[in-house]
Amino acid sequence: MFVALAVPNIALIVWFTYRPLVLNVYYSTLDWTLGSDTARAVGLDNYTQFFQSEEAGQVFLTTAMFTVATVVLSMGLGLLVALGLNRKVRGAGLAQATVFSPYVLSGVGVGLAWQYIFDPTVGALGAIVRGFGGTSPEWFNDETLSLVMVVIVYVWKNLGYAAVIYLAGLQAISSDILEAAAIDGAGPVRKFFSVTFPLLSPTTFFLLVTSILNSLQAFDLIRAMTPLGRGTTTLIYDAYLRAFGGYNQAGYSAMLSTVLFVLLVILTLVQLVVLERRVHYR
């Protein structure tokens, strides 16, 4: 009988998380404006329209570039910071908290704070660049630079997460192994690539999975810094714009959400099946 107490949570999860996944598939076959009572069934037209347009290639390319860049940079830099923190220097605890802090901040707030810094005319970055005799890049007008800018801010916000997880992984490595490697004559670089990094592979694997999933879901920063999308229109942002951004294409949006979800499922399965085999576990 006590099981009944778990029912509200499960019911909420089913209704607001799983039911929408199924409904999306149905909505994706409609030509429909959000809020309207009438919709026209169009079969798979939304899918064929998307996949046959140039837009599909562009959106997938943007999504892929954003994801790969943010994942590689936040994991790489995060590992570098973790190696520093692992030297147990004074103030390492405070440093860890500081580096982690942007991860808990509102994406909208962070996006706007950085938008002011990046502003080519009145921003701090432009002023510094001009101080060295350069001119500020047009971060907001150039589509590629917009993407670069959003990647930079996203990495700034998220690398502390990778750093803290890598630090936990580093601390779990027994010092005996590293000392043994040192006795065998391995230098610090060799020690890192032949001992530390392979031993970190479970952590790297975990981070890879969570970081890819997180990057594919990035929304707040993109919306705050580049409301119109353009160079930063990832799959998830396109889905938002189509339904709520004045396009009045809710069916098309549901199609994009379904595509994204299928992509997430495929990625998760691929990661579980293929990658996990290569990961070293103790």
């Binding site: 923190l85 509102s106 009145v122 002023a127 479970p202 707040d220 339904a243």
Partner: protein, 286 residues
């Protein structure tokens, strides 16, 4: 300081410690702190200090008027209240539901438990953005636009908290709980008098993470609210930014930004240990 602790600073290691320890850490700290400090300082800048091609770090004169100006464009006090209400009620219910579900998953025998757990776990993989259109249709059909319950309800089901608390409850000493059961303590009593007190740190962690999450949540409140009086702070912040889009208004926008970021920074500074653990748990076990 003992000699063992002093080792990283011995002459031989000094250079290595500096290059691989202090330099990257110092760099990382500066990269994190400088933009945040600049944001706070800029929220006190006059329009003249903002609209200049020179780098102005310190406001001259200090111009707290930006906060009053921001409050004139959007109802800042009301937004703060809305965010507080949504955060407290949303996070509170979420924690309660997570505790109940995790208890059932760990301590109650029932058929199909594995499938229920899997259903809870799999939600971690479903991004909330994917559910926005169907949930928007459902909530608006019930008249939930521009209401507190409309903002709060769809996010109440908790996969993350349930998962984390299940892991925590599994670690509790089974023999103590079994002894209580033998003594005739029912589930209700065991839950509130034993499991909850023993797992208090984990529950606090889940609560904090949910509080931060609810406070920052953006997409759902953005689509379900259009009346400025019902907006949460992040949503109101983008409204403020849209209304004050002139370059000279960055001071006002930064004032609004500080209102969103500072409360979380303060909470984080005080309780960072719990929050970091909560957000990174699960990773350590692989």
């Amino acid at each position: 300081m003992s000699t063992a602790e002093a080792k990283p600073l011995s002459r031989r290691n000094l250079a290595a410690t500096l290059v691989t320890g202090y330099v990257p850490i110092l760099l990382a700290i500066l990269v994190v702190i400088l933009p945040l400090a600049y944001m706070i300082l800029s929220s006190f800048k006059t329009p003249a200090d903002v609209i200049t091609r020179q780098l102005v770090v310190l406001p001259n004169p200090w111009h707290p008027q930006n906060y009053a100006d921001a409050a004139r464009v959007v109802p800042l006090g009301r937004l703060f209240l809305n965010s507080a209400i949504v955060t407290v009620i949303g996070a509170g219910i979420k924690v309660l539901l997570s505790v109940l579900t995790a208890y059932a998953l760990v301590f109650v025998r029932f058929p199909g438990k594995r499938y229920v757990f899997f259903a809870v776990l799999a939600t971690l993989m479903v991004p909330p953005q994917v559910s926005v259109v169907p949930n928007f249709t459902f909530i608006s059909s019930l008249g939930g636009q521009d209401t507190y319950w409309g903002i709060i309800l769809p996010g109440l089901g908790s996969g993350f908290g349930t998962f984390l608390l299940r892991q925590a409850f599994l670690q509790l000493p089974a023999d103590v709980l079994e002894a209580a059961e033998t003594d005739g303590a029912g589930h209700w009593r065991r839950l509130w008098h034993m499991v909850v007190p023993m797992a208090a740190p984990s529950i606090a962690t889940v609560a904090l993470v949910n509080i931060v999450f609810e406070w920052n949540d953006y997409l759902w409140p953005l689509v379900i609210v259009s009346n400025p009086q019902m907006m949460t702070l992040p949503v109101g912040l983008t409204l403020l930014h849209n209304s004050e889009s002139a370059a000279a208004s960055y001071g006002i926008v930064m004032a609004g930004t500080v209102m969103v970021l500072l409360p979380v920074l303060v909470v984080f500074a005080a309780l960072q240990r719990y929050i970091v653990t909560g957000l990174t748990q699960g990773a350590v076990k692989g």
